[in-house]
């Protein structure tokens, strides 16, 4: 491997981490909000696909990428609200509902998104982190999704809100003890529905970064399980929004290995490198879970185990 190839490879991974990591960041933040309130939303996979379609359609129809982002947040919020409402019904389990919404969200997205597979939609303008750099490789690698700074700010804000604001503490209380919440006169169902809806809107930003930035087009294979990986990412990040940032970038980098190798001419094992994020997730789950014992930082009401 020559120096040039090495530089290309390293920046392809770095740029890939920033590009591929953005959807991971938003979905994991969304899942983090939902789980803090004591529910698991496996349906975020469906939310991601539906909001990706909504973002592309919104951007294509209005001609403004930012209106597409708004459409994505709305679509994500609607589907997540459905999850929140369904889970408040008696005898309805959040895991099964999540699977159902995963199917419904993808089905709706494929159905409504049929006309948008071919056309081009206005894309979000990239933020140039390395406009000064001489090498075009470095420049193009560090063209960053404009939603990514928003995501970073959101992670910091959430970390602060969960610790210091009334709303954040309420969400955490609903997640840790439904009885305590009820004793203080708050509605557990209401708080959880609100948290799930907000989580869906945040995850919708992830969908928008898929179709409006990278890969930047709408097709039926747009998401390959990022919404599910997010559930594992939140466990890895031990339910902390700030640690979600690191986890998302790590997974983005892992997902970028295959394309990065391809960019320097190694095409062997493309599909094998693409499964690295899933294997990594499994490895992390194996390392971070203990049988019969809650993970550190886990909200007390989570029904996953």
């Amino acid at each position: 491997m020559t120096i040039d190839q090495l530089v290309t490879f390293v920046f392809a991974i770095l740029g890939g981490a920033l590009r591929v990591g953005a959807p991971f960041l938003f979905v994991s933040l969304g899942e983090c909000i939902t789980e803090k309130a004591g529910r698991i939303n496996l349906g975020l996979e469906g939310v991601l696909v539906l909001s990706a379609m909504a973002a592309f359609a919104g951007s294509y129809l209005t001609g403004s990428a930012w209106l597409g982002v708004v459409a994505a947040m709305l679509a994500g919020m609607l589907l997540a609200t459905l999850h929140g409402l369904l889970c408040t019904l008696p005898r309805v389990n959040d895991i099964a509902t999540g699977i159902a919404l995963m199917l419904l969200g993808t089905g709706l997205a494929f159905y409504l998104g049929k006309p948008y597979i071919q056309p081009q939609a206005p894309q979000l303008p990239p933020v140039e982190l390395a406009a000064f750099a001489g090498s075009s490789v470095v420049r193009s690698a560090l063209q960053v999704n404009p939603l990514l700074p928003i995501g970073l700010a959101l992670a910091v804000a959430l970390g602060w809100a969960f610790g210091r604001t009334r709303a954040g503490l309420l969400v955490r209380m609903a997640g840790d003890s439904a009885l305590a919440t009820r004793a203080l006169g708050y509605s557990v169902g209401g708080i959880r529905i609100a948290a799930t809806a907000v989580g869906g809107a945040v995850a919708g930003l992830g969908g928008a970064s898929l179709t409006l930035f990278y890969p930047g087009s709408w097709n039926e294979g747009i998401s390959s399980g990022q919404g599910l990986i997010a559930v594992a990412l939140v466990i890895f990040a031990r339910w902390s929004p700030l640690r979600c940032v690191g986890a998302a970038l790590l997974f983005g980098g892992a997902g970028a290995i295959g394309p990065a190798l391809q960019s320097i001419g190694v095409s062997w094992g493309y599909h094998l490198f693409n499964i690295v994020p899933y294997v990594l997730t499994l490895a992390i789950l194996v390392l971070s879970c203990r049988p019969g014992q809650l993970a550190a930082g886990s909200p007390g009401e989570l029904s996953s185990r």
Binding site: R91, G105, H271, L282
Partner: protein
């Protein structure tokens, strides 16, 4: 009995909602319903298509339902199916002298064994490390699909398959034929057989009963000394074997080689079938035929009404959501509701709503 009517009501409601949805797209809901049933059960041709799709659905639904009776939600049937198909094709390629009935059995067994190992892995991760099996099985499905693509496009690729990478076609003597010369292959018989066997095992044998005890109350199972971990693994392996068998049958009866057509979402549709059958193996048979039928009608909906082929996915999604939501109605006292709605009526004379008898 109450479950049956709740399921039926949920199904009717989802068809109604689907009609509304179709009406928004500018098509007539009545036309959509008629085509849905014509395309599924209208004539012998559509019946053949329906039954051909029902066979893998039965097997992938068992992949969820058998572990569900042991208390696990395993939704990675797609991975076991894909690997089962790959194992079948690989065995046929590695042992060229295989042939005849024994050969077909060997090919199916290879698929079942790899599928069993794959789902048992998810069960083992849960028992050993406490990893949530729903998430791990789904991640394993993505891993399986990646491995499948790598092998099919790499080491096992038939150089003659240019546009669509495939393995070498399996020998004709290994192919699974149609029942009585029709397009309905013997995989359907295998699916029905597997459902009956699972029902028998869970209902009438001590080990099947132990699995249900573990799923019903883990603490009680441990108190009476049942080997819970081993039973969970057995249930996962049995479910995975069914999904792997589905893959092997798809290869041996439909596609003739392992290629991307195998990744057709049967694993995911099987999740819905299993939930709708409420994890009762015998109930899986009719539900799989129903949803196989809706799948078969999808292309007709596209051709006649100009609806996207994903409309069947929407119907499946709506049905799934309503099936789960209908659980909330289980504890409703319908006599009380009827009294409230229709004024004061003595309980005996209350309008007999279905489900009251249960």
């Amino acid at each position: 009995m109450r479950s049956f009517f709740l399921t039926l009501a949920a199904l009717a409601a989802s068809l109604l909602l689907f009609g509304l949805f179709v009406a928004f797209a500018g098509a007539s809901p009545v036309d959509a319903w008629v085509i849905l049933f014509k395309g599924a059960f209208g004539d012998w041709f559509s019946w053949q298509n329906t039954l051909q799709r029902a066979a893998p659905l039965m097997l992938t639904a068992l992949c969820l339902s058998i572990p569900a009776r042991a208390g696990l939600v395993v939704i990675g049937g797609e991975g076991a199916l894909v690997l089962g198909g790959l194992a079948a094709a690989a065995l046929a390629q590695a042992v060229p002298f295989l042939g005849g009935f024994a050969g077909s059995v060997a090919v199916c067994l290879a698929g079942a064994i790899l599928g069993a190992a794959w789902i048992a892995l998810a069960g083992w991760l849960r028992q050993w490390r406490g990893v949530n099996e729903t998430i791990s099985s789904l991640l394993l499905a993505y891993v399986a699909i990646g491995m499948f693509k790598h092998v099919v496009e790499g080491p096992l690729r038939d150089p003659a398959s240019l546009n669509k990478p495939s393995t070498h076609a399996i020998a004709d003597s290994l192919r699974i034929g149609g029942i009585g010369g029709s397009d309905v292959h013997w995989g359907l018989a295998l699916g029905v057989l597997a459902c009956c066997a699972a029902a028998f095992w869970l209902r009438w044998t001590p080990s099947g009963f132990s699995v249900r005890v573990v799923g019903g109350n883990l603490r009680a199972a441990q108190l009476v000394g049942l080997p819970a971990s081993r039973l969970v693994l057995v249930a996962c392996a049995a479910g995975g074997a069914c999904a792997g068998l589905a893959g092997a049958v798809e290869v041996a009866a439909v596609h003739a080689s392992a290629n991307a057509s195998l990744i057709a979402g049967y694993g995911y549709a099987g999740i819905l079938v299993a939930f709708m059958a409420r994890h009762q193996p015998l109930a899986i048979i009719p539900v799989a035929i129903l949803f196989g039928g809706f799948g078969a009608a999808g292309s007709l909906l596209q051709r006649r009404l100009g609806l996207p082929d994903a409309s069947v996915l929407v119907l499946q999604g709506i049905a799934f959501v309503l099936i789960l939501a209908s659980e909330a109605l289980r504890d409703v006292d319908w006599q009380r509701v009827a009294q409230k709605v229709f004024g004061i009526v003595p309980p005996e004379a209350a309008p007999m709503r279905p489900g009251v008898a249960a």
